[in-house]
């Protein structure tokens, strides 16, 4: 009898807790209190794409800077709220991205997902974010879909110029400057790499598409690209396009050096064609192999002393010295993170005194900002109700002995009609 009583007591206790729990839930905007705004994202801090790890660090550093400083309204942070940025490692594995994103939304109750990295990882949570009406903004990937699919996924938006536009720029450059090029492509065999190929073909146009004599893909987890590089060399390629994430890109340069092959022209995508990664490639493959590589960019380059007296660069270095003293300030990915965090802070300020997820999206889609100190002069961050392409201007750069030299002018690659 005593046991039955005990069991009944236990059940009653559980029921009591259950009722208390049910009352504890509130209907306020998740992640926003009078003092805090909590946002989150997933990034590859480990695994094949872990070289991107400085991005969230740069973002967090900028948020710390904003949190410590009085804004235009005389309050610290944004409207008196401190920005709390939680980020988790997904190892560039979409299965982890899904679990970590659900943790951010359902356990950490973030206000918005900001800057989450990777095309396939972020694709895995698009449907979820939109179903739950959680802003998934400024995705760290230039896949064209972030801007193009807004009818279906209105809560999702990218940030940087899209990959198709970037590759189209290379294609048009080849048509006008290298009309007889025999083009070969080595690409990451996922939607990221394929986006670049689609853009390249569009830029070359139907008349010149046939100049692509060979395309060879690799898996992001592959540890060698030797067979792909040998195939491309055999195909007589003189203009090589490298469309991969940083580690395989560096491996490609090293492999080419090993077999003693240097195509006349090398184009490397902007994601991997940063001073840091090309610097590593140089140390592995030699300067001669990497020199004359062409890429594009839209942010200032912290490795280039030409920016030493620039106010934005000074601010960047000051924030790095204070909040990331152990980080290599020459790594452009920290600056990329800060530039993105700057855009988010602008949007959050514009989202009103008591931001909601709706008011944040309205602000994100109503932007015309020329003040971002970390972007190239003249680059505007601009959106509209149907324009989900915040940054779309870029410039071609050529790498030589550790330095980028811009050539040509700032090109606007915003899709036609926007």
């Amino acid at each position: 009898m005593r046991r039955v009583l005990l069991a009944a007591g236990a059940v009653a206790a559980v029921a009591g807790v259950a009722i208390a729990g049910a009352f504890a839930r509130t209907a306020a905007t998740p992640g926003v209190t009078s003092r805090l705004v909590t946002i989150g994202g997933t990034f590859p801090l480990s695994g094949p794409a872990s070289s991107y790890a400085p991005i969230p660090v740069g973002m967090k550093a900028y948020f710390s800077y904003v949190n410590a400083r009085k804004g235009p309204d005389g309050l610290r942070g944004v409207g008196g709220r401190q920005i709390v940025f939680k980020y988790y490692d997904d190892g560039y594995n979409p299965a982890n991205t899904v679990q970590r994103t659900r943790q951010l939304v359902e356990q950490d109750h973030v206000f918005a997902l900001v800057g989450g990295l990777g095309t396939e990882p972020q694709e895995a949570v698009v449907a979820y974010a939109n179903q739950q009406k959680v802003p998934q903004i400024y995705v760290s990937s230039g896949a064209t879909e972030w801007g193009a699919n807004h009818d279906k996924y209105p809560w999702t938006i990218g940030w940087q110029p899209d990959y198709q536009a970037e590759a189209a720029l290379y294609g048009r450059y080849i048509v006008s400057n290298l009309p007889n090029a025999k083009i070969g492509v080595i690409y990451q065999n996922d939607s990221y790499g394929k986006d670049y190929i689609a853009g390249l073909e569009a830029g070359l146009g139907p008349a010149h598409k046939s100049q692509i004599v060979a395309t060879r893909g690799f898996e992001v987890t592959d540890t060698s690209v030797l067979s792909q590089v040998i195939d491309l060399r055999k195909a007589g390629v003189d203009t090589l396009m490298i469309f991969g994430t940083p580690s395989p890109t560096i491996r490609t340069y090293a492999t080419m050096a090993k077999i003693g092959w240097k195509p006349a022209n090398i184009f490397v995508n902007s994601v991997s064609g940063t001073a840091t990664f090309l610097g590593i490639a140089t140390s592995l493959a030699g300067a001669a192999e990497v020199n004359d590589s062409i890429t594009t960019y839209y942010t200032k380059d912290p490795a280039n002393p030409a920016w030493d007296n620039d106010a934005g660069m000074k601010l960047y270095r000051q924030i790095m010295a204070k909040y990331v003293p152990s980080g290599d300030a020459k790594n452009g990915l920290y600056l990329y993170g800060m530039a993105k965090a700057y855009t988010f802070v602008q949007a959050l300020r514009a989202a009103g005194k008591n931001p909601t997820r709706e008011s944040l999206m309205n602000a994100v889609l109503n932007m015309n900002d020329k003040t971002n100190p970390f972007l190239l002069p003249g680059v505007v961050t601009k959106t509209g109700k149907n324009d989900y392409f915040p940054i779309s201007q870029q410039r071609l750069l050529r790498w030589n002995n550790g330095l980028f030299t811009p050539f040509g002018s700032l090109v606007d690659t915003r899709p036609k009609g926007l």
Binding site: A7, V14, A15, P94, Q99, Q107, A124, A127
Partner: protein, 332 residues
């Protein structure tokens, strides 16, 4: 009350208490904890099946994650490509994966011990590559996104609903396994494990029971995989790494091979301990997890159910003391 009746009453009360907890706890949980609780249910189903194969029938599987993947892809492909309602895909996934398990069990008959373990390990390794190869069908590395179901009961959140759904199915699967293993089939499975020669000489077909055990285990994994696809609303090859198969075997061993109730402990262990280890020290989560695992195996070498059995005599004598005291009081 006779002691036997009393022990039945206690057991029934325990089952009722677990059921009451399953029904009531979701309301007390943080929403995300419900999601993890649903995962405990999914692992519970998977390792009940694994237990039939390994615990009852003595065949080791290091590739159980592959059967989960099979079930999960069945649900993902049926619901996204063919518009089948996701709940209908649960039994379909169970049957289809069960058939796949039977088919795999046939060649596995020729292997035993460490050779069988290697063959199943190969299954776990290859499923990732196969899923990536047939991209048009499986979505490749990018995977397949499903629609996260919303609760058919307005009062429940999605995660509460997922928790009820998985535990409802887990309850059914538990009862089914209990019925299957307590009678003739269970005896035959155990006979094949303990004394194959004696089993054959008394007329049992080794091939039949070994294959059947694979089929049952795979069907359970298929149902678990299907529920996993529904709960996560996303399936890609990396959802089923080789480590998942090893994790499941760990859960079955820690729960106690040959015991169905013990699997509850195993499922709780594999859902919570690795992540808990990570929260203790995120630089070396696998080291901490490994230490906990070693410690657990050292303390309870025969799993949670073994521990209960070891404690049973003292519990029983305590119960009997209580009972006789009660009786003497009644008589007095």
């Amino acid at each position: 009350m006779t002691p036997r009746l009393a022990s039945v009453a206690v057991r029934a009360a325990a089952v009722a208490a677990v059921a009451a907890l399953v029904v009531l706890l979701p309301h007390a949980f943080d929403d995300f904890l419900n999601y993890r609780f649903a995962f405990v249910g999914i692992y519970f189903i998977a390792i009940i099946g694994l237990n039939v194969l390994t615990g009852y029938n003595g065949q080791i599987s290091l590739g159980h994650g592959a059967f989960l993947a099979f079930g999960a892809y069945t649900t993902a492909i049926l619901s996204t490509n063919y518009g089948v309602g996701e709940y209908w895909t649960i039994p379909i996934a169970g049957v289809v994966t069960g058939l796949f398990g039977l088919a795999f069990g046939l060649p596995a008959l020729r292997l035993s011990g460490v050779y069988l373990a290697l063959a199943t390990f190969g299954l776990a390794v290859s499923i990732v590559l196969v899923a990536k190869r047939f991209e048009g069908f499986t979505g490749g590395g990018g995977g397949k996104t499903l629609t996260l179901p919303s609760s058919p009961f307005g009062a429940l959140s999605t995660n509460e609903w997922l928790s009820y759904l998985t535990w409802g199915v887990a309850g059914l699967m538990f009862v089914a396994a209990w019925l299957l293993t307590r009678g003739r089939l269970g005896r035959s499975l155990r006979a094949v494990r303990e004394a194959p020669i004696a089993a054959v000489s008394s007329g049992l077909s080794l091939a039949r029971y070994k294959t059947l055990a694979f089929g049952i285990a795979a069907a359970y994994a298929g149902v678990a995989g299907s529920l996993l696809a529904i709960a996560v609303a996303y399936v890609n090859p990396d959802t089923f790494p080789v480590s998942l198969s090893i994790l499941l075997l760990t859960g079955a061993v820690l729960g106690g091979l040959g015991s169905l109730e013990g699997m509850l402990f195993g499922a709780l262990f594999i859902e919570f301990v690795p992540k808990w280890a990570e929260s203790i020290d995120n630089r070396a989560p696998s080291v901490i997890y490994g230490l906990i695992l070693l410690g657990a195996l050292f303390v309870i070498p025969s799993g949670a159910s073994g521990l209960l059995q070891r404690l049973a005599p003292s519990l029983k004598s305590a119960g009997e003391r209580l009972y006789s005291r009660h009786n003497s009081r009644v008589q007095a």
